[in-house]
């Protein structure tokens, strides 16, 4: 049972979601009150007078429509005209009615941030295909289609859609950030950076600068934008919402360079009006770097931040709930699934829940992500569903695994052997796993392997006192509180 070690590297990598989410979360434009812009005051005045002179629907509609274009929401006559349109809504077109509703700022519905319903994906794709067929220049529809293809695992199709979108709109924030996240999903950070670095917009758009620097740092690639970013932060008059990610990105850099005082100041600015990604970064950095920041977690869709926070405060059930929301919000991302299965399995000892999570929320990731597969097999074995566990285990392609994954592979194989009654073979495999973790200097891996070896030894009635002491020592050193409160170690007393 494990989770990918992101402790050393979390950066503010841009999120990817459908356009309506991005819009709702304020990543497309600031949510400030719009500025009134009346370009043609005479004709505007004329429309107002025409409406006052002759209170009929055509005049009301034209006046309100123009007031909407001008963002003149406080115009009392336009408000009156909008109400007049709505009172007569049966006689007007749908669009006219919508104009009146919009002018009166009857709010758009809030998305539920739950993208877990996989049946919807295909319907969405079908609809978006019709959209791009009807109007191929709609770059946003291409990106949304790529999103749903990526979630379903059709990466080639997603790649095609992203390529079209980038050709149509190579200088658009939403397109570039979505493409960046897609290429990272495809494990191609160089390509992600290529488009970001070639866009002129990246030189002055704080969101893109943050993405470019974060991706470069996360993958140890070169960036020449840090100075530009710092200058922009010093001089910019942009709203705090627009600067949050960039403040957080530079703050992370400073923290990594040991400049905690500067980092703290930058994060203070980042958290004036942050998005959930910045809050999650602050939550992560406050845990891993070790300084305290006042974080308002009452931010829309702050599922990752909540997951991390409740994990830190040992409220594992609440943390799991937040993690499940996070994985439904970022369904193509494997890390929240890894974490959810880890919390359910290791922290809550609820292996049935692990199986449920994988089957319900991430069936498509099961064969694509080794950690998820391993946690799934581990849970099956822990529930003594050996046959099924072996069947799944056989589908792992050992040659393609990374060294760390190979070590985990041996540990899980050891568990299966234990559960099959092949104790000696089980011990041998666990020892091999521990040796491999030692070679990789993964103290976390060593601790987890020893912990589960202890669990199995205890299960067959062996004396595990010394082993428990050792695991407690290691867990305390690494701050693995989830192990310290587990039955395996607590029952010792």
């Amino acid at each position: 049972m494990n989770v990918n070690d992101d402790y050393k590297k979390r950066q503010i990598i841009p999120r990817w979601y459908p356009f309506n989410y991005a819009f709702h979360l304020g990543e497309i434009i600031p949510k400030n009150k719009p500025q009134v812009s009346i370009w043609t005051p005479r004709s505007y005045k004329l429309k107002e007078q025409e409406w006052l002179f002759c209170k009929k629907l055509p005049y009301a509609i034209d006046f309100v429509g123009t007031a909407l274009v001008a963002n003149d929401y406080s115009n009392v006559n336009a408000v009156e005209a909008s109400k007049f349109i709505l009172r007569n809504s049966k006689r007007v077109s749908v669009l006219s009615k919508q104009v009146a509703e919009k002018f009166l700022q009857i709010p758009d519905s809030t998305p539920d941030f739950d993208l877990s319903n996989q049946k919807v994906y295909r319907k969405k794709i079908s609809l978006l295909r019709k959209y791009v067929h009807a109007y191929p220049q709609n770059a946003i529809a291409w990106v949304d289609m790529a999103f749903y293809y990526a979630v379903l695992g059709y990466n080639d199709k997603a790649n095609y859609c992203i390529t079209v979108a980038l050709n149509l709109a190579p200088e658009n924030r939403f397109v570039l950030r979505s493409a960046t996240r897609f290429y990272l999903h495809m494990k191609n950070p160089e390509k992600a950076l290529f488009f970001l670095q070639n866009a002129e917009l990246t030189r002055y758009d704080s969101w893109l600068l943050a993405s470019e620097i974060s991706v470069s740092k996360a993958f140890d690639l070169r960036t020449s934008n840090i100075k530009i970013a710092k200058n922009l932060l010093n001089k910019s008059n942009e709203p705090p919402k627009d600067l949050g990610e960039l403040f957080g990105t530079i703050g992370t850099l400073e923290a990594m360079n040991g400049k905690n005082k500067i980092a703290k100041r930058l994060f203070k600015s980042a958290l004036i009006d942050p998005n959930e990604n910045t809050v999650a970064q602050a939550e992560w950095i406050s845990g891993s770097i070790g300084f305290n920041i006042n974080i308002n977690r009452n931010i829309e869709a702050a599922f990752e931040a909540n997951s991390r926070y409740f994990f830190k405060t040992k409220e594992y059930r609440t943390s799991l709930e937040a993690t499940l929301k996070w994985l439904r919000y970022q369904p193509f991302s494997s890390f929240p699934v890894q974490l959810a299965t880890y919390i359910a399995g290791v922290c809550l000892n609820d292996f049935q829940e692990v199986l449920h999570i994988v089957k319900e929320d991430a069936p498509l990731l099961l064969d694509k992500d080794f950690v998820i597969k391993n946690n799934y097999i581990f849970s099956l074995a822990s529930l003594d569903k050996i046959e099924e566990a072996e069947e799944q285990f056989a589908s792992i392609n050992y040659i393609n695994l990374k060294e760390r994954e190979k070590a985990t592979y041996h540990a899980t194989k050891g568990l299966i052997k234990f559960r099959k009654g092949q104790i000696m073979e089980g011990r041998r495999l666990y020892s091999e796993a521990i040796e491999r973790f030692e070679k990789l200097k993964s103290e976390r891996g060593i601790t987890l392997a020893k912990y589960y070896l202890t669990r199995e030894e205890k299960r067959i009635g062996n004396d595990v006192k010394e082993m428990i002491d050792q695991v407690i020592r290691l867990a305390k050193k690494l701050g693995l509180n989830e192990l310290l409160q587990s039955e395996t170690l607590v029952e010792k007393n």
Binding site: F19, N20, F23, I28, I29, P30, N32, K33, P34, Q35, S37, I38, W39, T40, R42, S43, Y44, K45, L46, K47, Q49, E50, F53, C54, L57, P58, I61, D62, G65, T66, L68, V69, A70, N71, R91, V92, S93, V94, L95, S96, Q98, V99, K102, D108, Y131, A134, Y135, Q137, N138, A139, I140, A141, L168, A169, E171, N172, R173, F174, V175, L201
Partner: protein
Amino acid sequence: MCCRPASRLLGLKLEGGWKVVELLKRPPAATGGHFSVSYKVIDQNGRTGFLKALDFSKAFQDRVDTARALEAMTKAYNFERDILKKCKNQRLSKIIIPITDGSVDIPGEISDYKKVMYLIFELADGDVRKFYNLSEKIDLAWCLRSLHNTAVGLRQLHSHGIAHQDLKPSNILFFNKKFEFKLSDLGKASDREFPCENDEIPVPGDMGYAPFELLYGYTTTNEFYKRYGIDLYLLGSMIFFYFSDISATQAIKLKLSGYSGPSLNDKNFINVLPYIKKAFFEAVKDLEMNIQQKAGKLTNEIIIIVKELCEPDPEQRGHPSDRKTLPFDLEKYVSRLNLLAKKAELGIY
């Protein structure tokens, strides 16, 4: 108001046998321009006309730089008069052209500005808003013929180097007897041969109808022919108006999902263009549903025309085969709209 010379023409006899018979009461600013008063006139043969009397009195009000104001007013008047003269000389049949122009002294007026200049136009039965109630009760043939006549009018202007730039329902006049539509109000036009103040204005026409590239200050008008692109957009916007009661600009703004919209400070039209295109597509989708109910089999062709004419990206606007050779050419739209109008007139839809 009654003291202004331009407001005191009622009952006067003018050159050419015209007599001012009725003051056309309209909202204070609704005179097609900001410094004119409208009358109905009749000549000896019983022919009626529309008189537009120029009111320069505002230039003499307190706290107004009289010299500058007069200069601006006369410049605007002369420009409109010259451009109308050009239309008249070229016999542009789908443009409202003056029958005559002149000046008249107001009896009893002793001030320096007792002379009132005027233009007399043929009197239409009204602008299209008077005859068009709402999209609910649309007469398809009437709308399509109006669009066809409008396209012809714009093509006539373009072929003589004039861009209208302020096409909207109130500037399309209807002549019931002849079942004909003509374009009026060239006060916001630009003429290739005669540079004028309108050339310098970021949004020359009505902002409620203006294409987004103008609202964003995206300078597409450096080359004169690109102004024709504005007219194409405005022509497409009339389809929006007939089938949904609002302009293309209003419909797109509506679909910009709460987006605060452009302001004069925004210079990033290209960056936000994908959002505008998305909104445009959604607006067209809703429009298509409205058209479907009224136009049946003609819907598809009408929608194709809307998409080409109202394309938010000015570089992509117009007929695809014309974009490189004859950008913003209207010839194909005249034919297509004529065919659609004929089909509607014959009930083939």
